[in-house]
């Protein structure tokens, strides 16, 4: 029996070797997680929480794709001014939902920092450690965030996601490629005292507050070269963090979206408790009508998330109304065929968001790796993603993939996952997009 057990476990020692290499043990079945409040007094739809074995104690452990480093305090909290010490340690991740706290994953020989992660969601939710993206990036992680706070969130650890982009699209998933951010040198000059890190934070292109859309609504026209003119909403660059509950926006991004940021920010309002900074952050709480995460890149020719979203909607409108003579708008056509519609995940409505200062430690932290480049505007948290299921495929090459779907039964206004739609290249071919019937190519409208 001992030999059998050894065989069983050894297969799951995914990263190997000897001599201090990390070793991981998991069973690729859902791990039930608690969720912290999205904000003080808010629903328990926020940061994802497991438990961790520390001696005979089982304090809370944050599972955060937005944290670049993992930590676990070894005793009393060190003074905030002390440079955190790194050590090779183990994390025994226990289910926080099951009162028996069964062992659900083990990360052995990983680099941890001896610091107190502090509060997440509200002041009462104190965590003893963080499993961050430096560990999680070695896997493909599936998350499910039920809209009902009485249901647990789940995380499933896989070694990879063995499905091609085209298969995922055909099977109804919105597949969005992402880049990783967060590479910083050790002993940064930010004054935060944090050690250096490698790129492991998922950053997504997004469109904030786009106009509502219905495929049976009125047509939108768009002539050649006008693709950006007919976009609605504000382009955003957001980090994906399961350690945050609400959406977080820096004040300048909120103002680009047409919002007002009072000064001083957050006076008389609840602060934001973020795992990325030690102290509560003054925040102004607002609602965002809807948010779309959009597949796209940062190339100069890319029209932006909102323009891609608008194009995707126009193409869907055309295909939906094709039998009534609808045609592709000139700005969505190239070489006689329709341009591909980018995949997107649209979430609504009236999403809670915390607006924080551009100079806050949180925003500085998010942009520490790239202070003069494209700035991260904030965070998409788990509360924003309630009602969705997604898998973060870190290990896909050459780029990571975020594969998203909505909970069954979701209505379009609360969650809509739109796979990429690549139209046929000739009239003899057919295609099937947006859950519509298979059909041939639609004509292009005159310019």
């Amino acid at each position: 029996m001992r030999a059998r057990s050894f065989t069983a476990l050894s297969f799951f020692l995914a990263l190997a070797g000897c001599g201090g290499q990390p070793q991981f043990e998991y069973d690729s079945r859902p791990i039930e997680l608690l969720r912290a409040p999205t904000e003080p007094g808010g629903p328990a739809l926020g940061a994802t929480l497991a438990r961790v074995a520390v001696g005979s104690d089982t304090p809370l452990l944050l599972v955060d794709t937005g944290s670049l480093l993992s930590s676990l305090r070894r005793g009393v909290c060190p003074a905030p001014t002390t440079e955190p010490a790194a050590y090779d340690g183990d994390i025994q991740l226990l289910s926080a939902w099951d009162t028996r706290a069964p062992l659900r994953a083990r990360f052995r020989g990983v680099t941890l920092f001896d610091l107190c992660a502090g509060a997440v969601g509200d002041a009462a939710t104190q965590v003893a450690g963080v499993v961050g993206a430096d560990i999680l990036r070695g896997f493909s992680l599936a998350f499910a965030f039920p809209r009902d706070s009485a249901q647990p969130a789940t995380m499933t650890i896989y070694s990879n996601l063995p499905a091609s982009d085209s298969d995922l699209a055909a099977n109804g998933y919105a597949m969005m490629k992402f880049n990783l951010r967060g590479n910083t040198a050790a002993a940064t000059a930010s004054g935060s005292g944090r050690p250096g890190s490698s790129s492991s934070r998922v950053v997504m292109r997004a469109c904030g507050n786009p106009a509502a859309f219905a495929p049976d609504g009125p047509a939108q026209t768009c002539k050649t070269g006008e693709v950006e003119l007919h976009a609605s909403g504000t382009n955003l660059l957001l980090a994906l963090s399961t350690g945050h509950g609400p959406m977080v926006l820096r004040a300048s991004a909120w103002q680009r979206m047409g919002g007002q940021a009072p000064a001083p920010l957050g006076e008389g309002e609840s602060p934001l408790y973020s795992p990325l900074v030690a102290d509560p952050i003054p925040a102004h709480w607002v609602t965002v009508s809807r948010l779309a995460l959009v597949d796209g890149d940062s190339g100069d020719l890319w029209p932006g998330a909102c323009a891609e979203l608008a194009r995707g909607r126009r193409i869907e409108w055309t295909l939906t109304n094709q039998d009534n003579g609808a045609c592709f708008q000139p700005c969505d056509v190239s070489g006689g065929g329709g341009l591909p519609a980018a995949a997107y995940l649209e979430i609504g409505s009236d999403l809670p968001a915390a607006v924080v200062s551009d100079t806050s430690d949180l925003i500085s932290n998010l942009n520490e790796d790239f202070p003069s480049g494209a700035q991260v505007d904030g965070v998409v948290g788990t509360g924003t993603l309630a009602g969705t299921r997604f898998e973060i495929d870190y290990v896909s090459q050459p780029q990571g993939r975020l594969v998203a779907a909505c909970d069954p039964g979701s209505d379009r206004q609360t969650c809509w996952a739109s796979p990429t739609c690549v139209g046929p290249s000739s009239s003899s071919q057919t295609h099937r997009c947006f859950g519509l019937l298979t059909r041939g190519i639609a004509p292009a409208c005159p310019n």
Partner: protein, 480 residues
């Protein structure tokens, strides 16, 4: 030289994956100086003179009989009142198929200036084909381990041999391995879950039908060997690697897969709402063995050769088959109620394949051989199940070869492989572990969950297993 060319050894049947008859029946082995050396021992290619072309095919018919032990219908453990009808499995392998079938051999090569030899060959070193019939009363007693399997690894290999001296040759043969797979089995959704249906209830069985879309992007491997001859003796030693660069692992994209839910009240096809099928993607990973081959030929007289061959097939690496499937976005059962990440436990062990052969050449245009082969089991008794049936095997084989003119030779052979019946009393598969693991909250530190993680928390495979295989092989050699 004639004796050397006439030597050879012929295997018969090997472990559950390995084809021991590559290059035909009765005359090939690690000291054989023809194109089959690309597989057996690339160094022996150095004996090739002039140009040669070989093609051949084998027909293999396998019959497996499984008589499961009765089980307790409540726990699934052996020893209860529920009995099963006998299950029969059949496999017929032949090379005329697409993707290319097993048991074929095609090669062309040339000896150059008595110093070098080059060759290119294609064959199937690993394959498994078995399909179980529906038994009386519609029962499928082996369904939780295997309904059917068709696994092929087609090799495309180039061989190079160098004659270092009159008696010593070395050779190397790098190759590509093109894989194809189709696996069908059932999952018992009642195991470990809140179900009132009891274990092994067909109504609670979900079917996993996993298949590649043709052959896959190849993995690569290499073989190398040495050949030595002195007076009436020849010896050869060769090593063939498992797939390189992946720790011996073959990774198959199962792009034409399907998962059918249990009857509630009728089986539900995952793809029904999507309007297209298949709608399940997947991946299967497993390790292939590397192998060592050694052979000795004694040219006892002008007309008689005695040959001994030993192969060490390192099956110990074939411990598990790992599977992940990804269903459509509208589905929430896969990954929750039904596992989307599965481990099929194999737990193989290394096997030894030993053969003794006499080759008699009464006249220059005719020879015949008799081979007796024995192979140890690649599967420990407790691990035997319908998908991995193996035991100690004995195989007598007869082969003959005629020369038709100066350039053409035709060989034919027949082998009968008989496996000593295997009776599995205590199966490594423990259905109670699934329930125990669920009760432990899927705690990885519990022995039951470690059993589940290893793929052993499945319906028991206790019972008796029999296997018989007939192999008929034809091989044509053209020298020009």
């Amino acid at each position: 030289m004639t004796a050397a060319l006439l030597m050879g050894a012929m295997p018969a049947l090997a472990g559950p994956l390995d084809d021991p008859h590559v290059g035909g029946l009765g005359f090939s082995g690690p000291t054989t100086g023809d194109l089959t050396a690309v597989y057996w021992n690339p160094a022996a290619l150095g004996m090739l003179q002039g140009n040669q072309f070989m093609f051949g095919a084998s027909l293999r018919a396998t019959r497996v009989t499984v008589d499961r032990a009765p089980i307790d219908p409540a726990t699934g453990l052996p020893g209860g009142s529920r009995s099963f009808p006998s299950a029969s499995g059949h496999g017929f392998e032949q090379p005329i198929a697409w993707p290319p079938g097993p048991a074929g051999f095609l090669a062309v090569g040339a000896g150059v200036a008595r110093r070098f030899a080059l060759a290119i060959a294609t064959f199937t070193p690993f394959s498994q084909k078995l399909s179980f019939d529906v038994a009386a009363g519609g029962e499928q007693p082996t369904r939780y381990h295997l309904v059917s399997i068709d696994s092929r690894q087609l090799a495309l290999v180039t061989g190079l041999a160098i004659q270092l001296s009159d008696s010593l040759q070395v050779g190397v043969a790098p190759g590509l391995l093109f894989s194809y797979g189709h696996l069908v089995y059932d999952e018992d959704t009642a195991l470990g879950g809140p179900s009132a249906t009891g274990v092994e209830n067909p109504d609670a069985a979900a079917r996993y039908d996993l298949a590649t879309a043709g052959t896959q992007a190849p993995s690569y491997f290499v073989a190398g060997g040495i050949h030595f001859r002195r007076a009436a003796w020849e010896a050869g030693l060769a090593y063939t690697s498992a797939p390189l660069g992946s720790g011996g692992t073959v990774k198959l994209a199962m792009e034409r897969s399907q998962v059918t839910y249990p009857q509630t009240p009728t089986p539900t096809d995952l793809c029904a709402t999507l309007g297209h099928s298949p709608c399940v993607s997947g991946e299967m990973r497993y390790r292939l063995p590397d192998l060592f081959t050694a052979g000795v030929t004694w040219h006892a007289t002008r007309h008689l050769d005695a040959v001994g061959i030993v192969r060490w097939v390192r099956y110990g690496s074939h411990d598990q088959i790992k599977i992940r499937v990804v269903g459509p976005s509208s589905d929430v059962l896969l990954g929750n109620t039904l596992p989307d990440q599965l481990t099929l436990y194999r737990g193989f062990q290394d096997s030894w394949d030993m053969r003794a052969r006499l080759v008699h050449t009464p006249v220059p245009w005719f020879r015949w051989s008799g081979t007796l082969r024995m192979e140890t089991s690649a599967v420990p008794e407790a691990n035997v199940n319908a998908a991995a049936v193996d035991g100690l095997k004995i195989e007598p084989a007869l082969a003959t070869e005629f020369a038709l003119g100066r350039h053409l030779r035709v060989a034919a052979g027949y082998a009968l492989t008989w496996m000593f019946p295997v009776t599995v009393g205590t199966s490594t598969f423990n259905p109670a572990a699934a329930a125990a693991c669920a009760q432990a909250g899927s705690d990885l530190s519990s022995p039951a969950c470690q059993t589940r993680t290893a793929g052993q928390a499945r319906p028991t495979a206790a019972g008796s297993y029999k296997m018989l295989r007939h192999t008929l092989a034809l091989m044509t050699t053209v020298n020009f």
